[in-house]
Symmetry: C2
């Protein structure tokens, strides 16, 4: 397995795409490499639930630098259907007992973990140990400590780690980053909004604290938390949060709704809400001399944007496709993903403190 990893990594470098090659002074096409010189990397999806089936699988139709090469599923019927639909060879179909054998499969370069949150760390670490690069769906893990373990495992294995923060590849969000970080309307002073959907199906793992990690704040809250961070380009210095539950028979060990407030070093504030009890999907930033808003902001079907200067006009992109393409390029150019594990860790540190603030009723300093 070590030998395989070495060989595969070496082969990438040999075609001039690794930073080691650049640093060594050897001729390289890394930065100038056009798409035709890039390898299409093989992706194995782990967990064939709703998001894998309806968001990631269709994205492969629009991908340039990756392809669906394998699957890991515990459901034989799903294995059969995907094998047929995507013309996958039998040898690239795994279940959770055979998962370890994926290390020996040269068709698989990237393992994309789309499992319930409680399994993100375990399978991301297993993937790294199998010598595969890792994309892990958001939230990256159940807590910051798991994120650190995942980062350490990937570092040790010499593989790259990315979090499924698809909105970094969405053009309205990229414009919001520009308007905020470049202070196009002056400094951002205030952000409000959030993400909520009415989710009351107690059969869903998302509603189970042991599998989901805490309901809406894990599943949905990381989106507006991300937005507040990437619009300001800053890390918050304090957080306060409040948890509410109107239906404890449904939301048994999670909060139905969480509001949280962030304070940034520049003085920017955010007042954010996330819920399984109500619909909310927008995010607005008020800057010194203008404002901008994403509405709808976060759901997968499409973002719109408007600012104090008018409607944003951007094409819709297949976010998951652009994200996988970007990760493939990062791997081949030996660059860190813009949505690396460190980015996921930063969010989980804050989420941990949000939970702490709810329980203590106190403002928590983030250092």
């Amino acid at each position: 397995m070590d030998l395989y990893k070495l060989n595969r990594r070496k082969s990438l470098k040999q075609i001039g795409l690794g930073s080691a090659a650049i640093l060594s002074g050897l001729p390289t096409m890394a930065c100038a490499a056009d798409d035709s010189q890039r390898k299409s990397l093989g992706v194995a999806l782990v967990g064939l639930g709703n998001y894998a089936t309806n968001a990631i699988a269709p994205a492969f139709a629009s991908i340039q630098h990756c392809h669906l090469a394998g699957i890991v599923t515990g459901t034989p019927a799903k294995a059969e259907k995907w094998k047929k639909d995507f013309n996958l060879p039998e040898k690239n179909i795994y279940n959770y007992e055979t998962f370890g054998q994926i290390a020996d499969n040269e068709d698989i370069d990237i393992i994309y973990v789309v499992l319930p949150n409680a399994l993100h760390a375990e399978y991301s670490i297993k993937a790294a140990e199998a010598g595969k690069h890792v994309i892990c769906e958001k939230p990256m893990a159940m807590n910051a400590e798991e994120c650190r373990q995942m980062i350490a495992a990937c570092k040790k294995a010499g593989v790259k780690l990315s979090v499924g923060y698809r909105l970094h590849f969405e053009k309205h969000h990229q414009e919001a980053m520009r308007l905020g970080q470049e202070e196009v309307f002056g400094k951002v002073r205030f952000m409000e909004g959030g993400l909520g959907f009415r989710v009351r199906n107690t059969q869903l793992w998302r509603l189970d604290a042991k599998l989901g990690g805490g309901g809406a704040i894990m599943d949905l809250g990381v989106y507006p938390l991300q937005a507040a961070r990437y619009i300001t380009g800053e890390e918050p210095i304090s957080v306060t949060a409040q948890g509410y539950n109107t239906a404890p028979d449904i939301y048994k060990d999670i909060y139905e709704s969480i509001n949280f407030q962030l304070e940034f070093p520049s003085g920017a504030l955010a007042n954010i809400s996330t819920s399984y009890g109500y619909y909310l999907d927008r995010f607005r930033a008020a800057s010194e001399r203008g404002w901008f808003e994403l509405n709808p902001a976060f759901n997968g079907t499409g973002t719109n944007g408007v600012s104090s200067e008018g409607k944003m006009e951007f094409e819709k992109v297949v976010q998951q496709a652009r994200q996988m393409d970007d990760f493939s390029i990062c791997i081949q150019e030996d660059k860190e993903s813009r949505v690396s594990g460190k980015e996921g860790l930063k969010d989980l540190i804050i989420v941990d403190k949000i939970k702490e603030s709810i329980e203590s009723g106190r403002k928590i300093a983030l250092l």
Copy 2:
């Protein structure tokens, strides 16, 4: 003075417009009275600052049941200008030394207090003691205790008390009340928004805690607080709040920005922001099966509204004119104003608790 009050009140009842007449079984036109049978009541404005000059004075052009009958000002040049502009008799021009004499002026039925917040209670009580009905601008007073004193003084004097909550007379806000209270889209689950403007002129009394009572939360925050209460038709059961200040040289003894969260008995939540540091002027309610939003929501130049069923189409009204007309009718029909002192008291109770929550860092129960 007591005799005057008695006579004036009696005279209204004698023309069949008092509830006492209804209760006595005498013939009355109280409820059926058409406008032609109502008296136009005389209003004296106390404090001729920006709001009196630019919002209330122009409203008299659209008023049916009141008229500007007098003024109270400490600035002789203003007295001269208003006297001329509004053709006021010299005897109806008062300053703060002669204010008490207003009791003897039969031209004045209503005293409208438009002074800095710290003077609301004092002059509302003086107005009541002079036997005049009172409209007091928002916030009703510096704190709940002052509100109680004002209510008691008006009760003792047998005069009516109203707070300048002009948006109760604005059609988009009335529609929001209907959509919320009548559960047109099901129960309201969440509200977000607020009111903020960039206010950095340290010469303004609004920035002085001793005169304004606490900056934006007093001046602006009562609007979204009101909205959360009148959209749900409920009183909150808890409040949490956070105060922030990025410019302590400007906001010396007030918070620049306050975020506060309300929890209602039905489970509805509100996440509200108010600030002198940034622009924000919208309010959104998410109900079980739809949503509605006022945007802009609170500023005096006009409200727009949209819901999950489309744009609200309502005519713009002169809110201050409709409010004064309504108060005149309430006085003549001996009905309590929909924006009575009790309504102002309810808000100040919550504002007091918002301040307490900021200082303690705790959720405060509202009983």
